[in-house]
């Protein structure tokens, strides 16, 4: 038997093997993956926000200010992390992630025990997602933010994040009210795409983001459009439906956050 024959045998052996997953499923899976990693949620399960995209420059003005990524290890490549949204009261990133640790939601953590936390800006793209985000790591290692792929938090980050956080809080409350009104009850909270567009457009205008574009995502499923992604890079808000099976976690003051993936 020659080498060529062996190669042909192998090719023949695989000729009936096909991969049938439709591209639509790959794309929706990719978007779910993105949402899981950027989800910042409103205060009832049917309503949430997702901030996607990352800033190209690592100055306070250009950071991804819509969410803070809480890692369970001192490694920005680690896939296990939770996200929390900044607050209009100006909490530091460390204090935001401390809530997840305090609640016992971080992998390897113990309820009530908050490890030393250090916030850095993620400057590399290893995860494909978090460049420009603030990451909070369970370490007091002084040099952590000087390691490749990270940089210290620039001054002014918290003040910069506060107005955006205020807009998101307002959007959460406004969408919730509208969804309850339109759905007839808390449990049946639901908004049509048109209604959600009106609500989100008005909230953005109210907070000085009137030049943003608001769209309804074409791949939304189900009748309710109660989730919004904010994409600061594109100045775009994308309205979609909440994925079935999405996990929600309530932390201080009724705010919700996205816990590590397999929580």
């Amino acid at each position: 038997m020659t080498i060529e024959l062996a190669e042909g045998d192998i090719r023949d052996a695989f000729k009936n093997v096909t991969f049938e997953t439709p591209v639509s499923k790959i794309i929706s899976g990719a978007r779910r993956r993105q949402r899981r990693q950027h989800r910042v949620l409103g205060t009832i399960p049917a309503i949430g926000f997702v901030a996607a995209g990352g800033a190209a420059l690592m100055t306070a003005d250009d950071l991804q200010i819509a969410s803070v990524v809480c890692y369970d290890k001192g490694d920005p490549n680690d896939p296990n992390q939770g996200q929390v949204n900044p607050t209009s009261t100006g909490q530091t990133p460390e204090s935001l992630c401390a809530e997840l640790w305090e609640g016992g939601y971080m992998r390897g953590g113990t309820r009530g025990v908050v490890p030393p936390l250090t916030a850095c800006v993620i400057t590399h793209n290893a995860t494909g997602m978090f460049r420009g985000n603030v990451g909070v790591f369970p370490t007091d290692e002084e040099d952590l933010c000087s390691t490749p792929g990270l940089q210290p938090l620039p001054e002014g980050y918290v003040n910069r994040a506060m107005p955006f956080a205020k807009m998101m809080e307002d959007a959460g409350a406004t969408i919730r009210e509208a969804a309850v009104r339109e759905g007839g009850s808390e449990k049946g909270a639901c908004l049509t795409g048109d209604s959600a567009m009106r609500v989100v457009t008005e909230v953005l205008r109210r907070h000085g983001y009137g030049d943003w574009t608001v769209r309804v995502a074409a791949d939304s499923e189900g009748p309710c459009r109660t989730e919004v992604w904010f994409e600061p890079q594109d100045r775009e808000a994308m309205i979609t439906s909440t994925d079935p099976g999405t996990k929600f976690l309530t932390i201080n003051g009724g705010r919700t956050a996205s816990p590590p993936e397999d929580w």
């Binding site: 997953t21 591209v23 790959i26 494909g128």
Partner: protein
């Protein structure tokens, strides 16, 4: 959100490459069908998310195959799979592959399977294979030679046993 033209471009790339990539990953992962399916799906999901950059990559298929071969299957997917596979695990039970060949493939070391997958099923050149797997070209040649030699021996033995 990707622009529609970019989505179409990705869809065309996906349709053109998904089956050869799956076959290669199936071979590289020793015929474990579910693991290969998950790895391929995850790799394409990641490719979609970075398609703006990947579209200009000289060999996006190599990027996907490398991602699929190297990636650790996420905990979430492993959990899902545990549920789906709550009965006896029977890799390749659905695939149209000869079980005897799967047995042969399993006897090859991982490195040889990966080289075989890329060189034979994806028709990658030695250079492309070396780049995708992060090894030297000489290593690719050696691994391919050894893999084919081992398979040939097994096939000959198998045929001789069949005659006896």
């Amino acid at each position: 959100m990707k622009k529609p033209a970019r989505v179409d471009e990705f869809a065309a790339f996906y349709e053109a490459t998904k089956t050869p990539v799956f076959r290669a990953v199936l071979l590289a992962r020793a015929g474990e069908q579910h693991a290969a399916e998950d790895a391929v799906a995850e790799a394409y999901e990641k490719a979609f998310l970075r398609w703006d950059k990947l579209a200009d990559h000289p060999n996006p298929t190599a990027w996907v195959i490398r991602a699929a071969i190297n990636q650790r299957i996420s905990t979430w997917r492993r959990h899902r799979r545990v549920v789906a596979d709550s009965g006896a695990i029977s890799p390749m039970d659905d695939a149209a592959l000869d079980p005897a060949l799967v047995q042969l493939i399993r006897q090859l070391p991982k490195g040889q399977r990966e080289v075989l997958a890329l060189r034979v099923l994806l028709d990658f050149s030695t250079e492309q294979t070396a780049e995708a797997l992060g090894v030297k070209q000489g290593t690719v040649k050696k691994q391919l030679h050894r893999a084919l030699h081992a398979l040939r021996l097994h096939l000959v033995t198998h045929e001789e046993e069949a005659w006896q």
